[in-house]
């Protein structure tokens, strides 16, 4: 049966308005497509915006929170918390099948700040066995914190909160 017959013989009003809407959209499509293609970001545009964004973000980061620690020789210092987290994240990421997510480092020990307590959450690759991997993470974090920060990690808590598939 011809579609138009339906239209003439009192087809569903919803169907008619839907049809006419589709028709008018199709008519406009050419102009819309042309309009859309007028605005294509050039690589230079995106590169420029990107650089400005990252610079502003870096400046903001420098003003971020700090963690107060102390060297073995007893010299106190503060260090941007982002830097400390970065050290831990790198250690965690280096373990196969593990991605660091949230990292928290708190001053610990006596005097306070002479050691660090680390709590972290990770995403694990599907199929990874948690217990031996947690050990690997602990070894990696412990070694990296000592080597890069020069402060021992007194405690490392790990929470696996998600699984990913490669």
């Amino acid at each position: 049966m011809d579609v138009n017959e339906h239209v003439g013989s009192g087809a569903e009003p919803d169907q008619t308005s839907a049809d006419s809407q589709r028709e008018s959209d199709a008519q406009l499509r050419g102009v819309i497509d042309e309009y859309m293609s007028t605005f294509q970001p050039e690589p230079e545009d995106t590169a420029g915006v990107r650089e400005r964004i990252l610079q502003l973000v870096r400046d903001d980061l420098y003003r971020g929170p700090s963690t107060n620690l102390q060297t073995e020789q007893g010299h106190p210092f503060s260090i941007s918390t982002a830097s400390v987290r970065s050290i831990v994240r790198n250690a965690v990421d280096s373990v196969d099948g593990i991605r660091a997510r949230s990292v928290d480092v708190e001053p610990a020990g006596d005097p306070e700040g002479s050691a660090a307590t680390v709590s972290l959450t990770v995403a694990m690759r599907a199929g990874i066995s948690f217990a031996p991997t947690a050990e690997a993470i602990r070894r990696s974090v412990s070694a990296e914190v000592l080597a890069e920060l020069g402060i021992p990690a007194a405690r490392i808590d790990i929470n696996a909160e998600d699984v990913y598939v490669d």
Binding site: Y62, S66, F77, I79
Partner: protein, 135 residues
């Protein structure tokens, strides 16, 4: 005895990277001391750069207002309070050494400079060191 670039008149402009501006917070002596310490600290392995000290931000702004030449930011702030001297440093480190190692050396260098008389300390010495970035 004349030291390289040194003068009793704190309002002179020094060669090198110090701008002495008597109208800024603190006096010329502290700015000179800041510059000396900054020189020592920046030459430590593992220190990439020093962030502009507070005084420098003020000094630069003031210099602009007064239309004098601004200078390289010093990166160290030496201030004298009621009970002693405070040395404030914001440092950018690199990855070559552990943070604690560099921190210890910064302290050591400052203490050496003080012993040499680069900074006059009576009362307490407070070294306020912040590692701003590491990369």
């Amino acid at each position: 005895m004349i030291d390289r670039g040194e003068s009793k008149d704190s309002n002179l402009l020094y060669s090198g990277n110090v701008s002495v501006n008597g109208s800024v917070n603190g006096n010329g002596k502290e700015v000179v001391e800041s510059a000396r310490l900054a020189d020592s600290v920046t030459s430590i392995a593992g220190v990439r750069a020093l962030a502009p000290g507070l005084r420098d931000l003020v000094a630069t702004a003031t210099a602009k207002v007064l239309r004098r030449t601004g200078d390289e930011p010093v990166g160290v702030d030496v201030t004298r309070g009621g009970d002693g001297v405070k040395v404030r440093i914001d440092a950018h480190l690199d990855h070559t050494r552990s943070v604690a190692e560099v921190v210890d050396e910064i302290f050591s260098v400052i203490e050496t400079d003080i012993a040499r008389g680069a900074v006059e300390v009576s009362g307490r010495l407070d070294i306020d060191l912040r590692v701003v970035s590491r990369g």
